[in-house]
Symmetry: C2
Subunit: 385 residues, 2 copies
């Protein structure tokens, strides 16, 4: 078989970390959320999924490989993405009869993360965003990121936000078919490029409850969840968008920390309770508070997803005050050896009176990742097959 009969396209896609959290679905099949959310897209220099999508008349079946391991592609979520993308390709083929009939060929998808998958770093968001974006490139779909976000959402809810760079909202929508539950750009990375993120990766510990299972337990049992959905989040979405537009870090930080705590509060109020934060997470909270107290203003904001890792947002001007304080404590951990990490000046030693907190961090954190706000998916000619 001639090699020209293999069609392929590749993309990189980023990780995003929410500052207004997604937790709870009103439709589990379509991944329609119970509330809107907002995230920061992180730089692909440090965290990205690289995906090549290929199709050929010679392929016998759809297949998906991640980091060299064959993955089950038969799940309803992956199938929903493939089905929707093929339908859009069929439309292209109907419009341009000379276009090759790619929609009828089987797909081979190969993916690689440049970070440990198991570290709890939102890999499914980057993964589904890359899968959808790579196939859209392969199919030469005219779809805009908003349309693709609708498809990626069906793979993994938060994946919809990884179709955009910068500061990204996900409108929960109201339609029962999910057609208006899509992501949108609140502001580009270049609007507020100074945003940095320090990720404290917790030592391997079995995850308490998967986020897919956990969020529905919370919806079903937490007496506080309805209040979060109806009262708390809608107001915070408005304020957070304004904070981003105004580049108001203090407002951004206050909302980020409150919403992380509010989300983990509803987890604790779940029956049985879900604990994602551990003693090291609590220590990270206390250290951020100490850094802000020392600075006399809010220069750092923590947030925790469905796991113990801390993500700490700060502006580049405060790098030594924020990342430098953590480097003074965690300087012997993996992750400071990159370009960004080497540039961080340790602010001397850890704050006085925080010996117990420092000790918890040293015990509970295994590596750090320094990164920043970044762009959306990038097309690449580097193919993985």
């Amino acid at each position: 078989m001639a090699s020209e009969e293999v069609y392929r396209a590749s993309t990189y896609a980023p990780v995003n970390i929410a500052v207004i959290k997604y937790w709870g679905k009103r439709d589990t099949k379509l991944n329609l959320p119970t509330n809107s959310s907002l995230s920061v897209t992180l730089s692909q220099d440090e965290l990205r999924t690289h995906t090549t999508a290929a199709c050929s008349p010679s392929y016998a079946a759809d297949s998906l490989q991640l980091n060299g391991q064959d993955q089950d592609i038969s799940g309803a979520r992956t199938q929903a993405c493939l089905r929707e993308l093929r339908q859009l390709r069929e439309h292209v083929e109907t419009q341009a009869p000379s276009a090759p009939r790619l929609s009828g060929m089987k797909l081979k998808i190969v993916s690689e993360n440049n970070f440990p998958t198991a570290a709890g770093l939102a890999s499914s968001a980057a993964g589904f965003a890359a899968l959808v974006r790579a196939i859209a490139n392969l199919y030469q779909l005219p779809s805009r990121p908003t349309e693709l976000s609708r498809i990626a959402r069906q793979g993994s809810g938060s994946a919809c936000r990884s179709l955009f760079g910068g500061y990204v909202g996900w409108n929960m929508g109201t339609n029962s078919d999910g057609s208006d539950s899509t992501a949108y750009e609140v502001a580009s990375a270049s609007h507020w490029p100074d945003m940095r993120a320090l990720i404290l990766v917790a030592s391997a510990e079995k995850k308490d409850v998967s986020s897919t299972a956990g969020m529905q337990q919370t919806v079903a049992t937490s007496s506080l969840m309805e209040h979060r959905i109806k009262e708390v989040v809608p107001k915070r979405m408005v304020r957070m968008e304004k904070a981003v537009h105004d580049r108001d870090f203090e407002a951004f930080a206050a909302l980020t920390m409150k919403d992380s705590n509010n989300f983990h509060a509803t987890c604790l109020d779940t029956d049985p309770p879900i604990f994602y934060m551990n003693d090291a997470s609590r220590a990270a909270v206390r250290m951020v508070e100490a850094i802000n107290t020392n600075a006399g203003k809010t220069v750092a904001a923590y947030t925790f997803d469905a796991g113990p890792n801390a993500v700490i947002y700060y502006l580049v001007d405060d790098e030594d005050a924020v990342a430098g304080t953590f480097k003074a404590i965690l300087g012997d951990k993996t992750g400071w050896d990159g370009k960004r990490g080497q540039a961080v000046k340790t602010g001397g030693s850890a704050p006085e009176g925080y010996e117990v907190v420092s000790d918890s961090l040293k015990k509970g954190i295994s590596r750090v990742i320094l990164t920043a706000v970044g762009d959306g998916p990038r097309k690449t000619e580097q193919h993985l097959l």
Copy 2:
């Protein structure tokens, strides 16, 4: 001076551990709560405050000693209790002019706990209940426990519940002067005498935030608190009273665990967040869940006050399944050597698959206390001076 001029009376008073939690004041001066609460009074064999109140024309000033240390008696809360009790004594003296004029004499109060004060075991509740009860005995007040609970509440909110034995409610009340914010007996200890409590005392760690400060931060900043107060607790109070009346342990346990988690969720939702539970607390939760799963029904219920100690309620018939499982893990800690502890048969080894949980318990728990539901304050002729 003749010795007969010293008048004295003594009492023991119990600790209580809430199953529907008190957290938040609508009036900080009068200790009027934002919601009603319900507790179990624990046996004075294991946990009690012993207090002697004395007065004499020869005393120059009011004084208070706890565990051999002089305490500041000038605080508004202690003063409020003394003032109210003296007023009631004045009323007695007016009615019976031959009664000695004790209301005009200075008081000497001496207190001793039979447990470590710093262990976070609700010592202020037992302390103020004993202070009020001892002075009421000294003054030969005709007041019923309800009236005394109104006074003790002004010393420490939860102290009002330690004026009663068994299962005790504290009605939040509606009057602005606090006259209807008093404790009441839901059921006596003899109504449901099988209730046991295993307390896992966490290794000394500085308390995150005092409960007095913490609860008002929650009231001021938690977006979930109002929902807890208005919607969650009122329904649970009704259900919990019914569970106690019906001796329905499964209902009692479910409500106890949910309300503990709900309370800690509002703490986490506080700005800045308050963490009372640590990794050992979380391990206790998981172990209780494992015990219930193994038993095929709910035989154990955890609850956590404003600190990392776990209090685990169970019925005497399930002692080996519940306390025995913890003894298998924590058998080398202080506290099993008493009569109750020796009687506990270890249920063999810890459940399989709970090695990490067991390890967290071993690291984080320093001692255990085995106790049971018990009676209210007991008068004693054992005087401390």
